[in-house]
Symmetry: C2
Subunit: 148 residues, 2 copies
DNA sequence: CAAAGGTAAATTGTATGCAATATAATTGTG
DNA sequence: CACAATTATATTGCATACAATTTACCTTTG
């Protein structure tokens, strides 16, 4: 009986981990058009909403650290989509902002969420249920993280 | 109005992607004790249940390809936890099985799922709801994958 | 104001992920 | 049986993730 806890389907994380990777794969055809990866798309999404962000602010929103973000942002800079500039007020801080090209592709990206849901073959209701339960747990886990 | 679709919280995938990484981080203290990573733990879990598996079978269950599994399995072999052996019947196939050490740590791992739920600070009910909605979508997406 | 302490990024090293390609073995077919 | 097509892994190359450390720059405090 008790060995049941070590089965794959019953794990807390495996289905989430697998689903995350599956969905990111579905993004590929759409993101390829823009020549960006999924994490790069997330960074751009934050910038489309907030114009300018420090590496730290991006990290807080995306739950990523500088070890991941620094090289990723350098690649976005190379593609000409963002600017990286040391703050004048505090030289430790690097401010990330959009270039014209980076701003421009927002309109091209607008259709992606809709197309993705279609590509996944799920209903709006199923999606809403999933988002609700995932967000609830994510918020709890994030809060719980600060306590540790 | 319509630009709302490009906000982070409303994305299909971001919360799942972030939650997956957060949970895997919570596994760390427990997996460190066994000196294995999370994907390595998943492979062992399949083997604890099925004794012997080909690389392909592992890939189907974990949704990973040989590009990920081959080096991962070599690392597990180096740690002395699994054996990799070409099948006699079909030399293309590599069969993965547990060593004594690999079997032995199953009992040490038995307590991990319980400890993890505790570490996440979520209730059994919340967990059940999450598992239900995630598994439902994952199954749909997996089925949908074959059609493509 | 100088030294200690803290902070923000960058760097280093290791381990995934995964697309694309290569390699080797097996199978199907004329 | 020869040979094309298929299949199972392995390899290559690139892009994350992330722990741990380093570096450079503030900030605080005696």
């Amino acid at each position: 009986m008790e060995e049941e806890v070590l089965k794959l389907e019953q794990q807390v994380c495996f289905p989430i981990y697998a689903l995350s990777r599956e969905i990111i794969q579905r993004y590929h055809p759409f993101l390829d058009t823009l020549d960006i990866t999924y994490p790069q798309y997330l960074v751009l999404m934050v910038l489309w909403e907030h114009q300018k962000q420090t590496v730290n602010q991006l990290g807080e929103k995306l739950l990523l650290d500088s070890g991941t973000l620094t090289p990723l942002l350098k690649r976005l800079e190379l593609k000409g989509l963002v600017l990286r500039k040391r703050s004048n007020i505090d030289e430790r801080v690097v401010e990330i902002s959009l270039t014209e090209a980076g701003s421009a592709i927002e309109s091209e990206a607008g259709c992606i969420p809709g197309k993705l849901v279609e590509a996944l073959g799920i209903t709006g209701e199923e999606l809403a249920e999933l988002q609700y339960s995932v967000n609830k747990i994510l918020n709890k886990v994030k809060k719980n993280k600060l306590k540790q």
